[in-house]
C-alpha cells in the first residue's frame, strides 16, 4: 500500500460525508453539534490534497492529510485526526513500502498520539473507545494468521462494539464532560465518526484487497 492509502481516504470521504447529519445530531446531544460540518469540511480538504500526494511516502500522505483536515476544520476531532495521522505516519517514517503488517504499528501510534494530545483514557467516552479495541482485534487476528480481510472484519466488529459501549459510559472529558451524568445514554459522536471511517475502510478492503 503506497498510493493505496489515497484510495482509502477517498473511500472514507465518499462514505462518511453523507453520514454527516447523523454525526451532527449525535454531537448536538452531548456536544456542540458541529461534528457533521467538521467531517464534511475536513474530508473535503483531505480529498482536495490527494492528487498532490500521489507517489510520496505513506508517512507524508498520512501526515499531510491529517494537517489538511485540521486546517480546514480545526476542532477537537480535527486536531485529534491530525495528530493520529502524523503520529501514525511517523511510525512508518522513511519506509518505502508499507503493508498490512504495519497497520497495528500505525494504529497504536495513532491511539497513543491522541492520548498524549487529548489526555483522555480508555473508558472516558471518546473516539479512543472505538479505535483502541479495533487495533487490538486487528492485531489478534493478524497474529492468529487471519487474512487482511478477516482481520479488518474483526477490527470493525470490535470498533462497532466499542462504539455501542460508549452509550452507557459517562463522559469524563471535554464538552460532554460538562454534562456529567447527563452524558449517559448517548452514543459518543467522535467514536461514531471513527466507526463510520473504519466501516468505509472495510468496504474498500472488501472491494480492493
Amino acid at each position: 500500500m503506497t498510493d493505496e492509502i489515497l484510495g482509502i481516504f477517498k473511500a472514507i470521504s465518499e462514505e462518511v460525508v453523507p453520514q454527516a447529519e447523523t454525526l451532527r445530531d449525535l454531537d448536538a446531544k452531548i456536544g456542540d453539534g458541529d461534528l457533521g460540518i467538521t467531517i464534511t469540511r475536513g474530508m473535503e480538504a483531505v480529498m482536495a490534497g490527494l492528487d498532490d500526494l500521489a507517489g510520496t511516502p505513506v508517512s507524508n500522505q498520512l501526515g499531510r492529510s491529517g494537517m489538511a483536515f485540521n486546517r480546514a476544520a480545526a476542532s477537537t476531532f480535527g486536531v485529534l485526526f491530525a495528530t493520529a495521522m502524523m503520529r501514525g505516519g511517523a511510525a512508518v517514517k522513511d519506509r518505502e513500502d508499507v503493508g498490512a503488517a504495519d497497520v497495528v504499528a500505525i494504529g497504536r501510534a495513532a491511539v497513543q498520539g491522541m492520548m498524549d494530545r487529548g489526555k483522555a483514557k480508555i473508558g472516558d467516552k471518546t473516539l479512543l473507545d472505538a479505535l483502541a479495541p479495533a487495533i487490538d482485534a486487528f492485531e489478534e487476528a493478524q497474529s492468529s494468521g487471519k487474512s487482511l480481510k478477516e482481520s479488518t472484519d474483526a477490527a470493525v466488529a470490535a470498533c462497532e462494539a466499542g462504539t455501542t459501549a460508549t452509550i452507557e459510559m459517562q463522559s469524563k472529558v471535554s464538552r460532554a464532560g460538562w454534562l456529567g451524568e447527563r452524558s449517559i445514554g448517548h452514543q459518543d459522536p467522535g467514536a461514531t465518526a471513527v466507526m463510520f471511517m473504519l466501516q468505509a475502510a472495510q468496504n474498500w478492503v472488501n472491494a480492493n484487497a
Partner: protein
C-alpha cells in the same frame, strides 16, 4: 434564510468581519502575511517583550480579536463561528508576536482550542520560540472545583488579559507574565444565565433554545447545558444565585478586594446589566467584599444570545491592582477597561 442576522453568506461571516475590522482600524491591526485569520497589532512584535497570543471561535466579539491592543494581547487567531482556529494560524501568530522574550498563549479552556494551541506550542518550540500557556477556566458550573482543569473559560478571561497584558507591557519576563496570568485566571470565577439561544450562521437554525419565560442558569456561551432550567427569575434573584455559587468557590471572603464584571451575552441590554450590578454590588458589600473595579457591558458574547454573566476576580495584592488599573486600549473595547 430565517435568521435575524445582517450577513451576506453564512460561510463569509468570519472573513468579512475581520475585513471590516481591518478597514475600520487600519492603524491598529494587521494580518500576518500569508494568513487571513492570524492578526497582530500593527506595530508588533515588540523587541524584548513577551508576546501574548490569543484566539478562539468567532461569534464572541469583542472576544477574542478585540482584546488585542496596547496593554492587552499582541495577536489573535480567528476561528469559524464557535470553532477553534487551527494550529497553523496559532503558530503564525506566535511567530509574529515573538519579540525574543517568548510567547504566552492565553485563551479559553475548550478541548478544540487547547489541543490546537498545544500543537502550535510544540511547533513553536521546534522553531525556537518558548511558549507558556494560561487558560481561562472561570465557569464554576462546568465542573466541580476539584476538577478545575476541566472548567470552561467564559467572560472572566478579561482579567488575565488586562493583568498579563500590563505585565508584558511593563517588560516582565515570560515566567513572570505566565505566573501573574495564571494567578489572575485562578482568582476569577464566573457564572452565566441564558434567556435565549443563538443561531450559528452556517447552521441556520438555533443550536439550542431557551423557551420564552424560562432561563438556564450556568449555560455555556455556545449553549453548553447549565445546571438548572427554570422559570425566569428576577434580576435580584439571579444575582443572588450566581454569587451564591461564585463566592464560596474560590472562596471570596470578607475583607477581600475584588474586581467585578457584569457581561451581556449579546441581546441583553445595558439597562439589565446595571440592574444586575445594582444587586450584585449590594450582596458583595454585605459579604464584606470591597469592589475595586467595576466592568459592565459586552465583553464576551454569543452573537445574539440573551443572557448575562457575572465574574469576580480577587485582587490579592497591590501588584494585581496596579496591573489591572494599567492603561490599555483596543477600539473594540469599552472605555471602562482603558483607565
Amino acid at each position: 434564510m430565517a435568521m435575524r442576522k445582517i450577513i451576506n453568506h453564512p460561510d463569509h461571516v468570519e472573513d468579512e468581519t475581520v475585513s471590516g475590522i481591518l478597514k475600520a482600524f487600519p492603524n491598529y491591526l494587521k494580518r500576518v502575511e500569508g494568513s487571513t485569520r492570524a492578526l497582530v497589532r500593527a506595530d508588533a512584535p515588540f523587541a524584548g517583550k513577551v508576546g501574548i497570543a490569543t484566539g478562539g471561535g468567532s461569534g464572541h466579539l469583542p472576544l477574542f480579536l478585540g482584546y488585542v491592543g496596547e496593554g492587552l494581547a499582541t495577536g489573535c487567531c480567528v476561528g469559524n463561528v464557535f470553532s477553534s482556529p487551527s494550529s497553523d494560524d496559532m503558530l503564525d501568530v506566535a511567530k509574529a508576536v515573538d519579540g525574543g522574550a517568548g510567547v504566552l498563549f492565553l485563551y479559553g479552556n475548550y478541548s478544540g482550542d487547547s489541543m490546537n494551541f498545544d500543537m502550535a506550542s510544540e511547533m513553536a518550540d521546534m522553531e525556537g520560540i518558548r511558549v507558556l500557556t494560561t487558560l481561562g477556566a472561570d465557569d464554576v458550573t462546568s465542573a466541580p472545583i476539584a476538577e478545575r482543569e476541566r472548567r470552561r473559560g467564559v467572560a472572566g478571561i478579561v482579567f488575565p488579559f488586562k493583568i498579563a497584558g500590563a505585565a508584558a507591557e511593563e517588560g516582565r519576563d515570560l515566567d513572570a507574565v505566565h505566573a501573574i496570568a495564571n494567578k489572575a485566571s485562578f482568582n476569577t470565577r464566573s457564572m452565566g444565565v441564558a434567556l435565549s439561544g443563538t443561531t450559528i450562521p452556517a447552521a441556520g437554525t438555533p443550536g439550542f433554545e431557551v423557551a420564552e419565560g424560562k432561563m438556564e442558569l450556568g449555560m455555556g456561551i455556545h449553549g453548553e447545558p447549565g445546571v438548572q432550567v427554570g422559570p425566569l427569575l428576577t434580576a435580584d434573584e439571579i444575582a443572588g444565585q450566581m454569587l451564591d455559587r461564585i463566592l464560596p468557590d474560590l472562596p471570596f471572603s470578607s475583607g477581600d478586594t475584588a474586581a467585578v464584571m457584569v457581561n451581556s451575552l449579546g441581546a441583553t441590554a445595558p439597562e439589565e446589566l446595571y440592574i444586575l450590578f445594582n444587586k450584585a454590588s449590594e450582596i458583595l458589600a454585605d459579604r464584606g467584599i470591597n469592589i475595586h473595579k467595576t466592568i459592565v457591558g459586552e465583553y464576551a458574547t454569543s452573537m445574539e444570545m440573551a443572557g448575562a454573566s457575572i465574574s469576580v476576580c480577587k485582587l490579592d495584592d497591590d501588584d494585581m491592582v496596579k496591573l489591572l488599573d494599567a492603561p490599555s486600549y483596543s477600539p473594540l473595547l469599552s472605555s471602562q477597561l482603558g483607565r
